[in-house]
Chain length 493, copies 2
């Protein structure tokens, strides 16, 4: 296959253009968004063709843990004895969606969550009615339910009653994403969706009026035009694997981090949309993870910066922690623990945490870290005095994780990016679109015939600082369905 990058500016439909294939709805990308769009388009009576650049479907979702953010009282929540409401979910997700949250999108997502749960069951998913109570990045075995965000943290629980809403299909550990994709692809196939792998979409085909009527794809080494009679749905993922784009739009994501995606998260779908006139949103934003738990006990440590100051409630979600540290890169950051927590280092967090200093006293630890004299001592003393009373007047860490650090000796792990800790990142920016999938220009005009969902667009999650696990695959499946429906019901051209 040629590695030549073609301009993604849309090609004009020509009277003599020959079409290699055609369908009512052509979907680009067979991850969670594309598969969901294809299923829903087929359910709405469309003949559907999916073009997948890789040799098999799955996308980034198949590499992920597979959590989906659902709530409002799902059967899994109910079976676990968890009380939840659509309103509480809405209030939480509105904040979790970020500073430029789209309230209409959040509203649709929450109001439709129970029906979406049912839809996932109809595609063959199962959720084991077992709640995994320990703070973790995913359910350790095949438990169906876990907290996956900042719900119980002070700054969120003040606005919305917390509930665990991370749902994982009945797969072991991190295998939830692979299982979800198998189910979705099987469902799409059963509904007659045609899937063409090794087909790399290159650019849109537009008519005189600027409406999208097809796509050019590289198939068998040749450029082929594919006609999309009702709609082209771009579900080709984000752009974390395109270093040129990341350097241009979100350079802070490239600081000692690990790019989290599949090789086709190269922004092609975003560029195809832009080439047809679309605007983009939030291109600077990314999810930045620092999985400092599990083990959950480490949440009882304190995080300090190079001034010996605490800067965050350590009970926060790992993505909130990662963002808070990376935004100050290259400033040094440390996790401080006492001997009561030393056992956690036998099974340290993902990627390994490096102990860089120890001390019989905090003063010794402070000196070994070369922190300004007296700073860490004050911080720990202040923290301990209040933790003993179950209080954290500075950051309001939840009482469940409040314990004084007063069992010498002490240790500090360097969690600065580049010092050994694991910082996977992916992009959150993409095409500007309506929740129902219509791709928009900067004037908020819909581009006829063009739709999008998943990380190809700026969807539900819009901020690394407030993100929760399950928002991306939740977004991709839920709004993928809406985009597929919109495309199936668009006028034929």
């Amino acid at each position: 296959m040629s590695s030549r990058t073609l301009p993604t500016r849309a090609r004009r439909l020509q009277p003599d253009m020959s079409f290699f294939d055609s369908a009512d709805v052509v979907v680009v990308g067979l991850g969670a968004a594309g598969a969901s769009a294809a299923i829903e388009a087929a359910d709405n009576g469309a003949e559907v063709l999916v073009l997948e650049a890789a040799s098999a479907g799955g996308g980034t979702t198949a590499m992920a843990g597979g959590l989906i953010y659902m709530g409002g009282g799902t059967p899994t929540q109910a079976a676990c004895g968890i009380t939840d409401s659509t309103e509480a979910m809405y209030e939480y997700l509105l904040r979790a969606s970020g500073p430029n949250a789209d309230p209409e999108r959040v509203r649709l997502y929450c109001d439709g969550s129970l029906a979406h749960y049912d839809w996932l069951l109809a595609q063959g998913m199962e959720y084991k009615p077992e709640y995994s109570a320990k703070k973790s990045t995913n359910t350790p075995r095949d438990e169906g339910l876990i907290y996956t965000g900042n719900e119980t943290c002070n700054e969120f629980r003040a606005h919305a009653a917390p509930a665990p809403r991370g749902h994982k299909g009945k797969a072991q550990g991190e295998d939830g994403g692979r299982m979800l994709m198998e189910k979705l692809i099987a469902s799409a196939t059963a509904k007659g969706v045609r899937i063409r792998c090794d087909a790399r979409a290159l650019t849109a085909v537009v008519d005189e009026a600027g409406a999208v009527v097809g796509v050019v794809a590289r198939i068998d080494g040749e450029e082929r035009c594919i006609r999309a009679r009702r709609g082209l749905v771009l579900c080709a993922g984000g752009f974390i694997m395109n270093s040129d784009m990341v350097q241009r739009h979100a350079p802070h994501l490239l600081q000692q981090t690990v790019l989290n995606g599949n090789p086709n998260d190269n922004g092609m779908g975003i560029r195809i949309g832009m080439g047809a006139g679309a605007a983009v949103l939030n291109m600077h934003e990314g999810f930045v993870c620092l999985p400092f738990y599990p083990p959950a006990e480490l949440v009882e440590g304190i995080m300090v910066n190079s001034k010996g100051q605490r800067f965050i409630n350590e009970d926060c979600y790992h993505g909130r922690m990662g963002e808070a540290i990376l935004r100050n890169y290259p400033e040094k950051h440390y996790l401080v623990i006492d001997s009561r927590l030393f056992h956690t280092m036998e099974r340290p967090p993902l990627g390994g945490f490096r102990v860089v200093a120890t001390g019989e006293t905090i003063e010794e630890l402070e000196a070994e870290l070369a922190l300004p004299e007296g700073t860490l001592a004050f911080t720990v003393d202040f923290f301990n005095r209040h933790a003993r009373r179950g209080e954290d007047p500075l950051f309001h860490k939840h009482a469940d994780y409040l314990a004084p650090l007063d069992n010498p000796p002490y240790a500090a792990c360097d969690v600065t990016p580049g010092a050994g800790a694991f910082y996977p990142v992916f992009t959150l920016g993409g095409l500007h679109a309506r929740p129902t999938g219509e791709v928009l220009t900067e004037d908020n005009e819909a581009i006829p015939g063009l739709f999008t969902a998943g990380r190809n667009c700026c969807g539900l999650p819009r901020s690394g600082a407030t993100y929760s696990s399950g928002m991306s695959i939740g977004d991709a499946t839920f709004f993928g369905r809406l985009a597929g429906r919109s495309a199936a019901n668009a006028p034929a051209r």
Copy 2:
């Protein structure tokens, strides 16, 4: 004039399209960028027409203080006894340009700084060879030279020998921008540039191949097509006055701030570019100012957050301070001073600072601010102990501004956005372009016939946190000239 917003998607050139006017080079916007582009295009032999939406030229530059960032040993610097080098300027500006700085752009700007100074003289500017030493937002009278950024701050001076590089023309106080625009417009007019005011550009006109060949503008209430034979140069400013765009791209700028721009900073030029296929960069970024000086003495105070912690070196540029506080909105922030500085409140910073607490001791002040007990006391004690030795081990505030706060009584001003302090903001994002002005797609392809400069594009300054005064007008005039030259030398179509 109709208020109807027209789609900014480019219109296709039609064989029967009638043109109301034409020129080799058509410039949209008569601020610093547009005027400089027009002058340079005329100097390169082009017939030039400028379309200005307002009833007179000047743009946002005419409302600004008029500082231009220049260095490497300008005659003004030399006359003031200031040593500077192109390399020191480059190292500083590279950091000041932000995390996605364009090194080629910074290099061109610095290497061309002395010639640009001469060019400004040739347009009629004068710089009084007097250095204004006191930290301020501009020279107070008609002095020609002042520090306008973070040059002397620890995190910058470690990389580049500091020098004052803010040059203001010989005008009183904040009148430098108005004077600059008068000179530039007079120069353009003298060179035969035609200026059409009350002419609002709406969208580009493109040919079959996607090249820009003109612009549609509203003139006398009618849509008129204007032919641009060699190039259309978009210099129509930023988008801070378009609340829809700011809400979408940079919502944090709308938190208790004051929008700093002229009414035509509505993103029209950015949208016209996007409508012709351009990519955008850095749309989330803005300049956020908290003018906590003058009076310069206030820099000797300390800034603390709601945890009683210092968080920054208070000798930093006002834009760095504003960004650091606004990014944590709505967290409370205070400026703490002692009685030695009380006289500053007789002529407080721009917008007025509100004293919200006083105390005979820091403990009293802390209690009155409702800060967690002992936090501010520790911070001030730690600060004082080191300040007495001329040291600031936490943030390395420059020794010139280090003095212990130990003259009771004490006072605190609430500098949280919304609490009385003045937070003017403007956008830094815009079209993706080469330093020489060619507008680019997301694939880095140049769009033939389309050029840009000034805040219409993502230019020299790319980060509020590292910005320095004079970078915007410096960028607009310098790269405006390059864009005008590129357009004049583009092939006729």
